[in-house]
Amino acid sequence: MDTNLALLLLLSPFVGFLFNIFFGKKVSRNVSGAIGTLTVLVSFLMSICFFAQLNQNGKALEIHLFDWISVHNFKLDFGLLLDQLSLLWLLFVTGIGSLIHLYSISYMHDDENMHKFFAYLNLFVFFMITLVVGDNLLVMFIGWEGVGLCSYLLIGFWHKNQDYNDAAKKAFIMNRIGDLGFLIGIFLLGSQFNTLNFSELKVALGGNLSLYTNICLCFAALCLFIGACGKSAQLPLYTWLPDAMAGPTPVSALIHAATMVTAGIFMVTRMNFLFDLTPEVQNIIAIVGALTALVAASIGLLQNDIKKVLAYSTVSQLGLMFLALGCGAYNVAVFHVITHAFFKACLFLGSGSVIHGLHGEQDMRKMGGLRKAMPITFWTMMISTLAIAGIFPFAGFWSKDEILMVAFEHNTILYVVASIASIMTAFYMFRLMYLTFFNDFRGTEEQKHHLHESPSLITIPLVILAILALIGGAINLPGSNWLNHFLEPILATKHEEHALGTHEYMLMGIALAGAVFGILWAYSKYIKQGFVPKQDSEITGFSKTIYNLYYVDEFYTFLIVRPLNSLSNFFRTTLETALGKLVFGFGTVANGLGTQGKKLQTGSIGLYLFAFVIGVLAILTYLFIAQ
């Protein structure tokens, strides 16, 4: 029974995908959208069922489906694992997924390929579920690559624009770099422990390990982290995520903010027993996380594309989550993942609503004063912005605060870096709000004329998400710590409770003060002075460097893409020709020998006779001597 339900949970979006890809064109747009939404909703309901069941008996469910790949020292099953962690992820993936599907029905209504959009979205949800419920690393890898594929398909959804296609390709390839790391990590673990199954690995890692194994573990952990870097857009593989905003906004909300990019965090949390054994790698994770948070936030300060701002904020928030992971506070990271999913999805959907209202305009310099025209969008986004900025008592406050606290305990420098990133976050988020919703409208007259609030299919998800962003912190309030308790069974080391002492209150106060400072800074600059960002050409100095994303893309192009291309050209033109010539060389030598040998054939019979007789003589002499 459980098997069937679990299969239903897994396959329902896949059915939606099949339906939409094969019949989507024949049925009306709404039906196609409805099917897409319903199938995800079914998964959501199933998740709730399992969640309730788990809450009751607290036992993780393991389901073996069939044998998949076998290598000589172990075999891999296609199996599902429904435990606390995967159910938590399932809940918000399918939950937010359903909302975003709902939203997309309206948002994508005018697109001729709407059925494809829903097909891809469903496929994405399917792969995401696979990723989450797989009971071994390789099944997770199916989902891992699968979501990458869907991300590729959806970023390049408007495939007529080659820039979008480039962005899609970039995302896929950068992910693949991480995937290679992931695979190598899998190999290392597999060859050491003869299994990739999570529960078996956990047992195996609990035993006594030799020094060599420990070194291997370090490498494995590092490789897995590289995989996570690719998927969760951390330094140095983060550049694909801002570009990925080329996709339709619901995609950005679902894949590139709420779910897929958190896969890295999911994986690290899943493998927490491994990372706990390798403190060196944890340190690397923490440092990378903090740096990413800082770098991405600083870039976000000056972006003018509304979605790019949100993208960098996502990268930055993911960095904070990795910081938490690096500090060993997996539950805190998971907490932030969940709250972040709420408010970031809401923000993206809100921005989508704005873009929708402005008929595709994404540049904040051409917005402004939308508060009146789009009140629901404004208020929902405001709530989410307050949440992301970390204002009491919104969801973001609790989770971010915990991260900062953990960082403080771990290392002061990390704490300072994270705090600066938080202040920047508050600043640029409010900059976004002020530029978009306050002051006067700066767009064209025609746009102004058409300004309107989005239809209810768009606003309902917004409202739900905003509510969640408001109260989402409740799942892990200091004191109750429901989430911490819930996650206890899957975490190898216990995370001790924070007793709320003065110390903690002080940290909370500092965080809050920082957020308020960021907001006020933005207020004074954009409301008081009515400052509007300059045109691209007028930006100079260091801000130009930031505005151009620290030239990281150019740097990568210069360092990797260009050399690779010139190497390819060199191979293709020079080396290939040279090798070809080398082979032809044999022919040329044979030919030359022939031309030279031809001269021996003088046609003079006398000479032949001489040669013949001398040859006979030579043979005779040889035979005689040899005797």
Binding site: T602, G603, I605, G606, V613
Partner: protein
């Protein structure tokens, strides 16, 4: 006369035919006239025939002589054909100097 080899010795015959053969070889190498070359070849053949007969007597066996008989038949055929070829060569080129026969030049 059965004791002829006792008186002359097989070695003498061997030396004779070797010398005869070498003269044949010498002729082949020395002359340019195809007919003389041909004759030299006949000399070589005869040297070998001579040896055959000598050893036939030495071994008191008729087979050697039978072989010489066949060899003569072949030689006759060969000469006939060879001379016919020479005639047609002469007809085409106007000479049977082997230095002029250079169509084999590569």
């Amino acid at each position: 006369m059965n004791n002829i080899l006792n008186q002359i010795g097989i070695e003498n015959y061997i030396f004779l035919s070797v010398l005869l053969f070498c003269i044949g070889v010498f002729g082949v190498l020395y002359r340019r006239n195809a007919i003389i070359v041909f004759m030299s070849i006949e000399i070589m053949l005869n040297a070998v025939n001579l040896l055959f007969v000598a050893f036939s007597t030495y071994h008191q066996d008729a087979e050697g002589q039978v072989f010489v008989f066949f060899s003569m038949a072949v030689a006759a055929a060969e000469v006939a054909v060879g001379l016919a070829i020479l005639v047609s060569v002469f007809r085409n080129i106007g000479s049977i100097d082997i230095a002029n026969l250079k169509n084999l030049k590569g």
